[in-house]
Amino acid sequence: MAAASSRPALSITLRLGGMRPWVAPVLLAAALVLLPFVGNEFLAYQIGLFLLYGVAAQGVALCWGRLGFLPLGHALFFGLGAYLSGGILKAAQADAVWYLLLPLAALAPAVLAWAVARLVFARSYHSGPYFSLITLALTMLGFLAANRFSSLTGGFNGMTEIPELPGLDRYGAMYWAVAALALVSTTGLTVMLRRPIGTLWSAISQNEDRLQFFGFATDRMKALAFGLSALCAAAAGVLFAPHQGIVTPQTVGFLLSTELVIWAAVGGKASPFGALLGAVLVGYASSELRDNFAYWEVVVAIAFMAVVRFLPDGIAGFVTRLLNRGPATSAQISAPVEAAPAIFPASRSSRAELAFDDVYSGASGIAIINGLSLKLSGPGVRCLIGPNGAGKTSTFNTLTGRLPSQSGSIQFADQKVGRWAAWRVARLGIGRKFQIPSVFSQLDVRDNLAIALWANRLHGLQSLSNRPKQWQTPLLQELLNLFPALRNSLDIPAGRLSQGDRQALEFVMMALPEPRLMLLDEPCAGLSPGETQRMMDAIKTVAQRLDAAALVIEHDMSAVERIADHVYVMHQGRLLAEGSLAQVQANEKVRAVYAGGHK
């Protein structure tokens, strides 16, 4: 390839944005097509096996590399698909109607996976490593069952003499079916990762907590993703049965699950192509070298440990980083712009009406909120002040589902939100800004803003289309006008912004879903006096623009003076006083608390 003449072509493709990710599927298609001609039919047969394992490994890579949870027992779904497919194919010898059930052999394990994940993640979204152990235990159960129910599965020796798929000779045409599956799954996953759903999945792995505060039901999203990953594994299993002609308990077991993880890790868990590559290269090499070279497995184990320790994105990630020295490709520079749809009606409640009624919340005998009764009605900016340990942040936490309350009621817009999950509260139109600015640090600013724009606007299936990436609203432009520095940083990862810019970004993100009630926790923490002033003005402006209420926790009295229409003072978990700032400052009880006379 002549470098000089291709350079203009390359820069055009870069300018079109997004061309580079198509390199992998195109390369893959070329390699797959060439293989039987460059090698021979037997090689194609052997590689075919590892292509199937590779598709299963892509499922592992999806969950682990993108969403941040690790399935340790994925062979369960692969093997289930294989057993079901084997059984169907054998039955189809007698009656061809059975062939119609073949898709079910892939779907059933996927549904099972979705159900398991849905149940587990609904309990607690912190369950990461425990979920891994559950998947491990499930795969072992599968192994035991496969051995035990020998009338169905052929027991220890496996289900043998599985016929080929009609018209697809095992050592010949079957390869093309396998290659097609590998290409479809790689392309499909690669495309999905570049759609809004991919961005949201990355956001889950970076800061799941934060994403919930934008109204995304992350536990349900994770369950669906897990179901999808199981579908990959099961579909590969469905082809495995006719390809190999035999399914043994090893196909559902612990060892194969382990190998899937290793292949995904070494190949590259962040990329579907990488995972596939890992399975083919490492898996095929292992099968050839294992018997000749006694220490081969030792070498693989060392490589795996080295990858975990030093190269978290595997070989594919390493190569991508080498090549990715140019401008970012996520920019839709010349893409058309589309007006964003309206906010969900449920999120646009008519008035900001908040009422805490004698709320108590405590843990191990210590009261954190101790009989808090507080009313807030209508738009405008209020401040919540009080000494350390008064329970100000805890008040926000009880409202937004992060701290369960044991008695009393919390009402917002006629809904009792006492023990609601964070995402449900966010969907009511309550936005939250944290003291330590919490954004998606590895996504660039543009993607961060996009996620905020999608909050309370994006329907399920829309996340699969490219159009939400082109949404714009006038509100976004107005907000960016308040913080011009953000406009220059659109392509920078949010984690690299300065403290001031990160506070600004989080504020803009909180405001984009047009909340009715904004909860801001020390929005000026770490800001210079100039930045503080700008932030305070922005809060006031935005509250007016959105006709919303803002409740701001602040310590800086000059800032409070600037913007507060009304001040609440908390002490020891309850409301001590309220009124205008002057009234509160003159209040004897308040002065005593702050001067430390009575504590």
Partner: protein
């Protein structure tokens, strides 16, 4: 005679955020430096920087002539500096007496006699889990332990938070007794009466900077209050 504690132009914070923007001060043995300021001005950050739990972005900290820059927090007690943080200030799963003998080589608790006399509840609850004590009692336990370390320099972050007024007075007396013996203290406090009872010098922080400082005698109560109040 080198100062018990000396810090110059300390700049520190979290991540790339500066919270402290250049704080200086010094302290001789037998003296108490009281640090005050409203919430969020950087008092706890200063204590963490002095005790080594957060790194210094700029500036120096020295105790008794020793430069503490390369001394990690777990070695500072041996270097003569004790630290009692504001939160999580006892070992909840250990009993009261275990909390007190953690750093001792023997089980000899005689050094705690004056404290048990002042706070009989502690002695009563010696075998109880420290986590089951009330907030104020935990602060008393932490106070007792810190003074019992007999360190030449002690950093204490809000030692009287949640403690009842009659016990606060006793704490002041016990602390001054340690000063007579030559110990130096840096104490962050919101309780003005306590602060004024114990301090020789004060340092007032606002927005990460020192806005006032000097011998206590130069400040009236009203002046100090004005730095704190809403």
């Amino acid at each position: 005679m080198s100062a018990a504690l000396e810090f110059r132009d300390v700049v520190a914070g979290y991540g790339d955020t500066q919270v402290l923007r250049g704080i200086s001060g010094s302290l001789q043995s037998g003296q108490v430096l009281g640090v005050l300021g409203r919430n969020g001005v950087g008092k706890t950050t200063l204590m963490r920087a002095l005790s080594g739990f957060i790194p210094l972005m700029e500036g120096e900290v020295g105790a008794a002539g020793l430069d503490l820059a390369d001394v990690p927090p777990q070695h500072r007690l041996a270097a003569g500096m004790a630290y009692a943080p504001q939160e999580d200030t006892v070992f909840g799963d250990l009993s009261v007496s275990e909390n007190l003998r953690l750093h001792l080589r023997t089980r000899d608790m005689s050094r705690y006699q004056p404290y048990f006399q002042a706070f009989p509840r502690l002695e009563e609850r010696a075998a109880q889990r420290a986590g089951s004590l009330s907030g104020g009692e935990r602060k008393l336990l932490s106070f007792t332990r810190t003074l019992g370390l007999l360190a030449p320099l002690s950093l204490m972050d809000e030692p009287t938070e949640g403690v009842q007024p009659e016990n606060i007075t006793k704490m002041a007396v016990l602390l001054r007794a340690r000063c007579e013996a030559g110990a130096a203290f840096v104490v962050v406090e919101q309780n003005l009466s306590f602060l004024m009872q114990i301090s020789d010098h004060v340092l007032v922080l606002d927005h990460g900077e020192c806005v006032a400082g000097g011998p206590l005698a130069l400040f009236t109560r009203e002046k100090l209050e004005s730095y704190l109040v809403v």
